[in-house]
């Protein structure tokens, strides 16, 4: 099985993404939405940790939430896929289950 994990809290201020990564199986997909999208940006204090985790997980980030916060898609960590709400729906249907780390 492949699970989709969604995270909506900032990984700079809260531990949701850490908890998610510690309990997600290798091969899981992780989608960053809402306040978590800052975690997709390069050169942040958590960027290296996330780059390291990319060996185990596929990362996605919700484009509309990046744009709302003025975060440049061009500065997203290489290898993280920017998706829209339609892509969010596809991620849910393409995986076997979903867990929201609210």
């Amino acid at each position: 099985m492949t699970m989709l994990h969604t995270v909506n809290k900032s990984p700079l201020d809260r531990n949701n993404l850490d908890s998610c990564m510690s309990m997600a199986k290798k091969g899981s997909k992780i989608l960053l939405i809402e306040d978590a999208v800052i975690g997709a940006m390069d050169n942040t204090a958590v960027a290296e940790k996330i780059k390291g985790a990319m060996n185990d997980f596929s990362f996605y980030v919700l484009g509309p939430d990046l744009q709302a916060r003025g975060l440049d898609e061009g500065k997203v960590i290489g290898g993280i896929n920017v998706v829209g709400y339609d892509g969010y729906v596809d991620l849910v249907t393409e995986t076997d289950n979903v867990q929201s780390w609210v």
Binding site: V89, V92, V102
Partner: protein, 130 residues
């Protein structure tokens, strides 16, 4: 695919119910079905018709009502959570001695069984919360 949604935060305070709305629209656009949206915890506050958001802002409550009407989505407010937070329909008003009700169009109040049922019947249940 058949989706159930669980919304656990009120409108405006957290983005979660906005995201849930956007998710519903995108899923419907792709031909999926939204069987039910279950409002729990502070999520029950999505279902009051007493809101009057600023004119230049979105009206989240109306957006739910309209989406439900257009796509035949069951919007269920948990009765226990609603009692704690003051969301009331006509029956609840009578039962609890309230002098009015505030439930918005297209929402109904029911039990937590509706959430478990959605879990049983839907292909996926997604949580949107704060």
């Amino acid at each position: 695919m058949k989706f159930g949604l669980l919304v656990t935060t009120g409108p405006y305070q957290h983005q979660a119910s906005d995201t849930a709305l956007q998710y519903c629209r995108a899923a419907l656009e792709k031909g999926h079905e939204i069987m039910r949206v279950f409002f729990y915890n502070d999520g029950v506050n999505n279902g009051t018709r007493y809101t009057t958001p600023p004119q230049d802002d979105r009206n989240i409550v109306n957006a739910w009502s309209e989406l439900a009407k257009e796509h035949n989505i069951d919007l269920v407010i948990c009765v226990a959570a609603a009692q704690r937070r003051g969301i009331v329909d006509e029956g609840e008003a009578q039962r609890n001695g309230k002098d009015g009700d505030n439930i918005a169009e297209g929402f109904r109040i029911s039990g937590l069984g509706q959430l478990v049922e959605a879990g049983i019947e839907c292909d996926r249940v997604l949580t949107f919360g704060g």
